[in-house]
């Protein structure tokens, strides 16, 4: 009898990204770029500044320390700065500087006396110096728009509301797509829908081949649901990176667009900028960003634009700045052991997410009452939402009151039941196999050892002398068995 164990829920690759930094998507993208890409990026002062900010503090200090020096950084300098022992191996120093090396800011090389030195990237050095001193001519921090003094401009609050509405609109659309009877939501523009499809956040279920998807009939995927659970800044960077990857797939140059993201991140909320003078090379990309609520344009064709808080907080590293809701506002769920859910919220998006897996019974202006039942949870799971995703949603939105009862936060009955419902879907684990049936114990044990050593073993049943091995290792194992057979037979 196999006892279910929920202490180590099977690791879900899609949920492993939840604890990483909000810029994880950006980091992976940059890690895969070549030297030349960075050379192009570092032409923009804003990029240099933002990349510097994204480095760990130690790295940042060392780079700033060496910024005005004409000598390349030496290993011994780093060691003395970090108060490391002089005998510390080169790998440890390398480890500390790894983030900067990955961003091609430092290029480690051996000098004539075979000592390691770290000369810095000239473009980066120049860019950062200009950023700090206000020199440079690339206008990468944006050019303010030349407007009349009495012109009516939106205040910060209005910009935040605008940005929030635009982005939540997209999220709401994603959620409501999963429901048979959705509540009325505005459909995002075609470009946005295309990106949602390409990124795999949504699919057209009626078109499994992916040849000719209908953008109007898309539904949310497991990846899309995971995306909804991320915090806002992670979502923004993920969307931007999907956008960038899509651009690259069309063999467009993405460096200009990426440096525009960083420029936007350095802009000031409430200030208006001139599009044509700030980003002469990326005007169409800027227009695309308007659909996600990153920028606000008073008139569609005007040169004037305001970055919203979504854009200006991109590089701040401060997750709270982009979070539309306060942390307290996010905590609205009370879950009882009888599976009843009380959600103290009037946020349409949150209610829509709940509606994916909760049977909503009562809806008041500020309270939604529902029940977690098998039918709804299983239909959510059929859409690719896993038990772990639901549990992490429930616990991250738990009402402060829930913390007053003794831990664990969510009652084990409910957590276990969710896992059981998840398990019910796939009670069978199937894998291709080749069965070897032995009659000699000796030969069985030898083969088992050999299969185990080569990671070919799926299952071994010693009392019946069965071995199950990976099909692709069949040839190798057969070879081994033949050899042993000959040896054993001649042994007598």
């Amino acid at each position: 009898m196999v006892q279910p164990s929920f202490s180590h829920p099977r690791s879900d690759p899609s949920s492993s990204s939840t604890s990483t930094s909000p810029t994880a998507a950006l980091d992976t993208f940059l890690d895969n770029q070549h030297q030349s890409y960075f050379e192009e990026l570092y032409k923009s002062e804003a990029v240099c500044l933002c990349i510097l900010r994204s480095l760990p503090p130690v790295c940042r200090h060392i780079i700033l320390h060496n910024l005005w020096s004409h000598q390349p950084l030496r290993t011994i300098d780093i060691k003395s700065l970090l108060q490391m022992d002089i005998q510390v191996s080169l790998q440890d120093v390398d480890e500390v500087m790894r983030p900067a090396i990955n961003r091609k800011i430092l290029h480690p090389l051996l000098n004539k006396k075979s000592k390691m030195i770290y000369p810095s990237n000239d473009a980066f050095k120049k860019g950062l110096r200009n950023a700090l001193t206000g020199l440079g001519t690339s206008n990468s921090f944006g050019v303010p728009f030349d407007r009349e003094d009495d012109a009516d401009i939106p205040d910060q609050q209005a910009l935040e509301t605008y940005g929030e509405d635009a982005f939540e609109g997209i999220l709401k659309y994603m959620v409501s797509s999963g429901l048979g009877v959705g509540f009325p939501v505005a459909r995002p523009q075609m470009e946005v829908l295309e990106l949602l499809l390409i990124s795999g956040l949504m699919v057209d279920p009626s078109d499994p081949s992916g040849q000719n998807p209908n953008l109007n009939r898309m539904t949310i995927t497991s990846k899309g649901f995971q995306f909804l659970l991320e915090d806002r800044q992670t979502q923004l960077w993920e969307i931007l990176m999907y956008y960038l990857t899509a651009k690259e797939a069309n063999s467009e140059r993405s460096a200009v667009v990426l440096s525009m993201f960083f420029s936007l991140g350095c802009m000031q909320l409430g200030q208006d900028y001139s599009a044509s003078r700030s980003f002469p090379g990326a005007l169409s990309a800027l227009n695309d960003l308007a659909q996600y609520g990153f920028i606000y344009r008073p008139a569609p064709e005007s040169d004037q634009f305001f970055p919203t808080h979504l854009a200006t907080a991109l590089c701040s590293g401060d997750a709270a700045a982009t979070r539309g809701q306060d942390a307290d506002e996010k905590r609205f769920l009370i879950l009882e052991t009888n599976y009843k859910i009380y959600a103290y919220t009037s946020n349409e998006l949150e209610i829509a997410i709940l509606n994916l897996f909760v049977d909503i019974r009562i809806r008041y202006p500020n309270l939604v009452v529902g029940k977690l039942d098998r039918k709804n949870v299983k239909s959510a799971m059929e859409k690719g939402i896993s038990a772990n995703q639901i549990i992490s949603y429930l616990s991250s939105h738990a009402h402060p009151q829930m913390y007053n009862s003794p831990p664990p936060l969510l009652h084990p009955t409910i957590v276990d039941q969710l896992h059981l419902w998840d398990r019910e879907r796939n009670r069978l684990k199937t894998e291709d196999t080749v069965m070897l049936e032995f009659f000699s114990k000796e030969l069985f044990e030898d083969t088992e050892k050999e299969a185990k050593a080569n990671a070919a073993l799926q299952l071994s049943i010693p009392n019946q002398k069965f071995l199950f091995i990976e099909p692709q290792t069949k040839a190798a194992i057969t070879e081994f068995v033949k050899e042993r057979q000959t040896q054993l037979r001649s042994g007598f």
Binding site: M1, T430, F439, S440
Partner: protein, 81 residues
């Protein structure tokens, strides 16, 4: 590979799909198999409590049949109660 019936060192090779499941699901599978005749039988070898070897072409069908069977055994509360 096997040479002669009397050979103690002979080995029999069979390919198929190894199914790993809990013992309750295993019993349902056994039941499903016993309801079938001749070529429609899917089980190649009953391995142990939690494992079974079946024919590859039946994998998807078996999964669906098992789901149906489990669905029959689930209590659904009358929403009007």
């Amino acid at each position: 590979m096997s040479s002669g019936y009397e050979d103690a060192y002979r080995v029999k090779l069979t390919s198929g799909v190894l199914v790993t499941c809990d013992s309750a699901a295993k019993q349902i599978l056994l039941h499903l198999d016993s309801m079938r005749d001749g070529p429609y039988k899917f089980m190649i070898r009953d391995v142990d409590d939690t494992h079974m070897m079946i024919k590859r072409e039946y994998v998807e069908e078996i999964k669906e049949l098992l789901q149906d069977e489990l669905e029959k055994n689930t209590y659904v509360q009358d929403p009007n109660l």
